[in-house]
Amino acid sequence: MASPRTILHVDMDAFFASVEQRDDPALRGQPVLVGFAGRRGVVAAASYEARRFGCRSAMPMSVALRRCPRAVVVPPRHAHYAAVSDRVLEILETATPLVEPLSIDEAFLDVTGTERLHGPPAALGERLRARIRDELALTASVGVAPNKFLAKLASDLRKPDALVEVTPETVDAILLPLPVERLWGVGPKTAERMHALGLATVADVRARGLERLTASLGSLGEHVHALAWGRDDRPVVPESEAKSIGHEETFLHDLEDPDDVRSVLLAQTEAVARRVRRAGVLARAVSVKIRFGDFETVTRAGPLAAPTDATDELWHAARGAFDRWADTGFRPVRLVGLSATRFLSGPVQLELFEDPDHARRRRLDAAVDALQRRFGSDAIRRRGAAAAREPHPPVPDA
């Protein structure tokens, strides 16, 4: 039995929309939809004002506008959100180095054993929320729990702008009435299977017992059984210790032009490279993941000549891997993802003579990182990164 842990899940409230409302006073109090207004546009984020009309992220823009015709549509500024996200992470890292960013707007913190330093975890969570509000003028919801699954559940319970702590005493009251869809790893297909077995709520799963669950669901039965009892042993892995750092995006429609895929890949490379630099690691390879409409997935490796965290060098490898695939038979792409992998660990032999090109690229990256942190501007992007995205916006992480 693992010793008890204290995990925080910090989730920014309607992140993209809140950033837009913060930056433009005219948008405050208005229903805001972040996304492109085009025919194939999709909602990347909806402000709470818009949610009252039933607008949700990942919804086609046309549907959202039908529900809330007076909503203001704002095109997304991903690089800007990434820069704000970095500031949030900086605040979180004042509490513990064990911060695992889950996506651009949420992160897990393992604050086990920090009570003497930071006080009770709920008080620490409130202080972090206060700093995010005071320093960034944004609100966050925080879940406090003994593991990741319960912490993520807790942060969602009284969103927005709230902190919920799950204790052994309160866990059953929260967990038992939940539909099985809320269990981590249970997607629509699995939920369908579970419903067919008469499993609708967490209470149903518990009542079924481990033996019968594994008999009907296999290893998945073991997994949902543990979650139904509020058990989850997944550790919080900070990016500096992660095995890979990656981004992927699923599109509402298949991308039919290789150049569109390239521009998405470039934007992903920029974001991944920045996270690699933040984590203070060096990658020895990149991996490009491509999925088609029929869910067939291929991955292509792009080795790096030397371990690096430079955007241009990661891009060169990613682009090479993609082009080698695309040149031998491109097919329309539903999902594209990029990860930096094979991080260098252990001692790094320093060079006597720095490769002048490498040194120049590092200075460029440092300058771009600094600019994006200060101004969070889309203006400083690699040419081609933001282009060609409008007709094929990605579906954001729900």
Partner: protein, 370 residues
């Protein structure tokens, strides 16, 4: 051609020539060693793989009849080695592509190539760019060539740079992580600075050119080739194209942070501290403290080592990691009893070893991620 010759000096010369000759080449003549005999000029042994060319004149033996032969170097070496043992007077008879080696109980007839195809004999080109004792040059090569790059890329760094000035000869090698430099004063260098890069293969042969340590060696550069002449031997090599990076910039200026210790003591401590490192974790941390250097290493699954060495160090504490092999490489080529000065500046700046004899060795540290 007919000559009588004691085996020992002939075998030595042919052995060296066989190291120059190509081991396998579509042009068979490049695998050959040439024997040129003339009553006026004596016996010459030559070989060339076009990159490197060697010519030696024997100071023994008697030419009965002039002539030239070219036979495969490795064949001639094995025949001489087999029958020659202690023989004072071996008779070689040949013409063109054929050589006969006869002893009372053995007869060998070696088939070779047409001597017309031989690379023309070379001469030392004019004035030397540097003249210095052979033992000094050999030591400069020994103390630098190990630092050349081995991995692909940066081809210039696969060679050793010779820099001739009016006052000195400087020999430098670096693989980009460490750098070895040896300097020796010369009397009559060129008026304008001359920089060339020489491969390690010819330099290894240069070291074998003379047995007499007091001999003088002359070095010259002409037409993209470098020439070494010592005694009766002349070796030349094609130069490596390219240039070294601005290496003077990475040699740290004298730093107050350092100490002097016997090369042998420092090497022993480093060797001991590196016993429990692995190939992936090849790093020893050097902790410079008051009158004490603590060398430590740690490798997961293997263990930890800590070695203390009393040294006269009185500056502010400093701590940095090094690949122990890089430091040991240099200490190995220094006199074990030499007083070596080890200087550092900061954890991310190169360390420097000097022995006060014109030799400088610079190593970039290892950054240990904690």
């Amino acid at each position: 051609m007919r000559l009588n010759v004691p085996t020992a000096p002939l075998l030595e010369a042919v052995g060296l020539a066989s190291a120059v000759a190509a081991s396998k080449s579509p042009k068979r003549i490049l695998e050959c060693v040439a024997l040129r005999a003339s009553r006026a000029d004596g016996i010459r042994v030559e070989a060339s793989d076009l990159d490197v060319t060697i010519a030696m004149r024997l100071d023994a033996g008697e030419v009965v009849e002039d002539g030239v032969v070219a036979v495969p170097a490795t064949r001639l070496v094995s025949v001489l080695r087999e029958v020659g043992e202690g023989r004072k007077d071996l008779t070689l008879v040949g013409q063109g592509g054929r050589l006969e080696v006869d002893t009372p109980d053995c007869q060998f007839r070696i088939h070779g190539e047409d001597p017309q195809e031989l690379h023309p004999s070379e001469a030392f080109p004019g004035a030397a760019a540097a003249t210095l004792p052979f033992s000094v040059l050999r030591s400069m090569i020994d103390r630098t060539q190990f630092a050349t790059a081995r991995e692909p890329g940066r081809f210039a760094l696969h060679g050793v740079q010779f820099r001739f000035t009016s006052k000195e000869l400087e020999v430098v090698a670096t693989d980009g992580r460490r750098l070895a430099k040896a300097v020796h004063p010369v009397a009559s260098g060129p008026a304008t600075e001359l920089k060339v890069i020489v491969g390690t293969k010819p330099l290894a042969l240069v070291s074998r050119l003379a047995a007499d340590p007091t001999a003088q060696v002359e070095v010259a550069v002409h037409d993209r080739r470098i020439y070494f002449r010592v005694g009766r031997c002349l070796l030349s090599s094609r130069l490596i194209d390219g240039a070294f990076p601005p290496y003077e910039q990475v040699i740290p200026q004298s730093s107050a942070k350092g100490f002097v210790a016997k090369a042998e003591r420092l090497a022993t401590a480093l060797r001991r501290a590196s016993l429990l490192t692995t190939r992936e974790m090849r790093s020893v941390t050097l902790d410079f403290g008051p009158n004490l250097l603590v060398l430590s290493s740690r490798a997961p699954d293997v263990g930890e080592a800590k070695v203390s060495l009393e040294v006269p160090y009185t500056e502010a504490p400093e701590k940095l990691g090094f690949n122990p092999d890089y430091l040991l490489d240099a200490l190995k080529v220094m006199d074990p009893q030499a007083d070596v000065r080890f200087e550092v500046t900061s954890a991310r700046s190169p360390g420097k070893l000097t022995a006060g004899d014109g030799y400088v060795y610079v190593v970039s540290p290892v950054s240990v991620t904690e």
